[in-house]
Symmetry: C2
Subunit: 507 residues, 2 copies
């Protein structure tokens, strides 16, 4: 008998709906084989046709907005307002990647014409990117839509021309099934091959999927332990495949004395809001706040954090781990609770917390440098620039790092910013890391353990580059070349010809 | 007592010169720590200064040409003419990467200005690439210069701004020491930090190096077994690091019946020359020749191969493996020797060989699909397009694949070319894969087991991208931004501003 997944409402802790069977090993293999069979057709689509297909998926998701929001809210407890915004971001991702696919930028076309009189003579060489093949996408629970089975990894893989087999998160199985059905219907309505997208569920199905020979890449958002285990599975296969895991991050924020003087109380409010957003279950939650000694904000901080009403945690396991990790951090000999978090009434509800320690507590000791997933953060008090210079290089790699400053000539900011850039994928000034703009320049990644591969982003157009590989054609007659490599550029794609960049037609 | 490495002359089999001590674990750690200490300085160099530094290294190598050639020839037996050409390629690589570093293309600067009235509003975001840090480079024996300790991986890493600790190949320890001394002297002469380049030697030193916490990436050219083992070490570290291995490749060549009719005898000569180049010890050696049934070239092929005088094998172990693998292939029930290879007089000398089988012998059976490193190849006779359609998708991933055709409307070519492109990094028409042009469009990589990561090339300017990671700056005042991200582009680097490509100044 197959195991089942249950929907549980975090606001009540009660299970609801019908049990959903975990995907059997045979069904996982079938989904991967179907994706492999559909891969050449998807790869052969012209950029504009692929763009149209992706916009149709976005429109279908919007068309089922109410049903999606209701179910995602029941399974995540994140609330309607947040989830409506998240759905808009999710469909926006499909649209951005669609436009990106249309420019042909993901193809990265490079043409070097023959140079028969060069030393040594060079043949005609033309390179483009081809899709890797079916991608296993592992959905995260903290963004049921934007990082779920129809999230950024799925949109990026489709833009690259790769079919997707997405593994549902155990906390949101019904939402995943619904999203899968909507996408399948949208594909069928357009006469597209529905095998380019499938959803599977269950822990064993996730393992079976990364081991399946028809899967050619993996993308994951979740815990360090889970991501590391899947990354090692991917590397240890008879045919190793690339694996992109986005894991944990502390997201340090350094506040300069000038900034405290200029707007201390406002920073306290903003920090408390950012840190407790989504019950602190953001991968970009500012979990580490560096304040200068004598900042005088202790009471304001405790008050602001205590006043925050937060969503319940996503599931019971996360709630337990939250309490345990907060207690572990506060038990450090140099740390103490400024606000002690606790469990609260109703489902997986909790209250936020705050832990204080001197910055010297992390000097040569990484016990405090572990993410507490949930609405508790650590405030570290630093003495001066010299102390930051000593401790900041000891921080683990992260997705983001922030400096709050008053002037760009501030010596503390000048010290902190380059040190933070060395350990992070995104550096912010006078902002909060919990918003991630989906643009070309965005980078949502960072050194280990933020990701398994710091070269890549799971947000922004760069995310599609994870799922392609280059192929060069040497001295190949035009009738045998892919259209994107023809001299007259019939697809109007962005390209680099004899070293000179040419934008996409209409760009 | 430390183990030692010995120089051995492949033309005589005799050891020469003083024993060279293997690098101790302490010395490996020291070299990695020194590289780490030198990393920020190298990273902070302006593109043009880095370019100048690399050209100085190239000039120093050219300045010591005679000494390098003499020693590399004594340790490799590859002959003066070939090695002089290879040194020119090696210095050419440094110069190409220097020019590439100067365009700033490796920085991949993307600037998206703030869009406060967009929905949702977008902050100012600017992204560039920063160096990963010290790179462990594993030298190959078959190209003592172009893929040696001063080879393409080293030049690409320096262009990316990463220090290099290069592990010498056990067959060419003295050449590695000499190259290391020349580079160190060139760096010191310019007043540059000599810690950005070091050479280590010994099997254990290679392992220690990939495990060293100061090493942030690895690049390797060599065997599947060696590359796989190092790749798993890299993935299994407490902090996993990217690893780029270029391993084995069969490099199939499909000859159409039209091509046989048009120029069969010429193709036979060209194939024999390409297959025996460097004693068949090229990663791009055409090891698999598909000929149409009734090609009538059997005798010519045997004669051409038998007539080839080849260099000795690089070392005794490779010579033994060559004989054993050729015998294993020929023992396949459907295969036979057309020309039986053998050991020859003098050092590690061998004679070339040829094995024949019907293409159906690889249908559902991969026993014949293993690289025989050395001057022996497999000729497979195919019946028709349908047979190619069945067997070509069963080939392992490779660096290259070639079609020899007479017209681009040839149905066999039309069938074979896309199937070969799916399994290779470079597709050639009417050429031979053993020449690898070093250009922008080049791709020297391919699906497993050709490489551990099909996204990357170890030849061509794309090779530098393996050693950088992006960092995005959000809402950061210009005085705190790296110069490359300033609005007025003081470094004149290539960039993409609000979606529009801007070439490098002077490009």
């Amino acid at each position: 008998m197959a195991d089942t997944l249950r929907s549980v409402n975090p606001t009540t802790g009660a299970a609801f709906g019908d049990p959903i069977a975990e995907t059997t090993p045979e069904a996982v293999a079938q989904a991967a084989a179907a994706a492999r069979a559909a891969a050449p057709g998807l790869a052969a689509m012209r950029p504009h046709d692929r763009g149209d297909l992706m916009r149709a998926v976005a429109a279908a998701l919007t068309g089922h907005e109410d049903a999606i929001i209701a179910l995602a809210d029941a399974e995540s407890g994140l609330g309607e307002a947040r989830l409506r915004g998240e759905l808009a971001r999710t469909t926006g991702q499909f649209e951005l990647y669609a436009a990106y696919a249309e420019t042909g930028a993901v193809l990265d076309v490079v043409i070097d014409h023959a140079a028969p009189r060069a030393t040594p003579p060079r043949p005609d060489l033309r390179r483009w990117n081809t899709p890797l093949g079916p991608v296993a996408v592992y959905a995260a629970s903290n963004f049921p839509l934007a990082f779920g089975v129809a999230g950024t990894d799925t949109a990026a893989a489709l833009a690259a021309g790769c079919p997707v087999v997405a593994k549902a998160h155990a906390s949101q199985p019904a939402t995943a099934v619904l999203l899968g059905a909507i996408i399948t219907e949208a594909l069928e309505k357009r006469g597209a091959d529905p095998r380019v997208f499938a959803v599977v569920g269950g822990f064993q199905a996730g393992l079976d999927l990364i081991r399946d020979p028809n899967i050619k890449a993996g993308a994951f958002t979740g815990s360090i332990a889970g991501g590391r285990a899947l990354a090692e599975e991917a590397a240890g296969r008879p045919e190793p495949i690339p694996f992109y895991g986005e894991l944990g991050s502390l997201n340090p924020v350094v506040v300069t004395p000038e900034a405290v003087a200029q707007r201390g109380p406002a920073l306290v409010e903003e920090f408390a809001a950012s840190m407790t957003l989504g019950a602190g279950q953001f991968c970009t939650k500012p979990g580490l706040l560096f304040l200068p000694e004598g900042h005088g904000l202790d009471e304001a901080l405790a008050e602001a954090v205590r006043a925050k009403q937060v969503h319940p945690m996503l599931n019971g396991r996360i709630r337990e781990a939250y309490a345990a990790e907060a207690a572990r951090l506060a038990s450090h000999p140099q740390a103490r609770f400024a606000v002690e978090p606790s469990e609260a009434e109703g489902g997986f509800a909790v209250t936020p917390g705050l832990i204080e320690a001197p910055a010297s507590a992390i000097d040569g000791d990484d016990a405090l440098l572990h993410e507490c997933f949930g609405p508790t953060a650590l405030v570290l008090t630093y003495a001066d620039a010299a102390e930051l210079e000593r401790v900041l290089p000891q921080l683990p790699g992260g997705l983001t790092a922030t400096v709050q400053l008053a002037t760009s000539t501030d010596p503390i900011a000048q010290t902190a910013l380059p040190l933070l850039a060395e350990r992070s994928g995104r550096v912010l000034v006078n902002g909060w890391p919990t918003g991630v703009a989906v643009t070309h320049a965005q980078h949502h990644g960072g050194p280990w353990p933020a990701t398994t591969n710091a070269r890549y982003s799971s947000v922004g157009t760069g995310a599609a580059a994870r799922f392609v590989r280059p192929v060069a054609y040497q001295s190949t007659p035009e009738p045998l070349l892919p259209e994107a490599l023809h001299d007259d550029n019939p697809l109007g794609v962005q390209r680099r010809v004899d070293g000179v960049l040419e934008p996409a037609a209409g760009a």
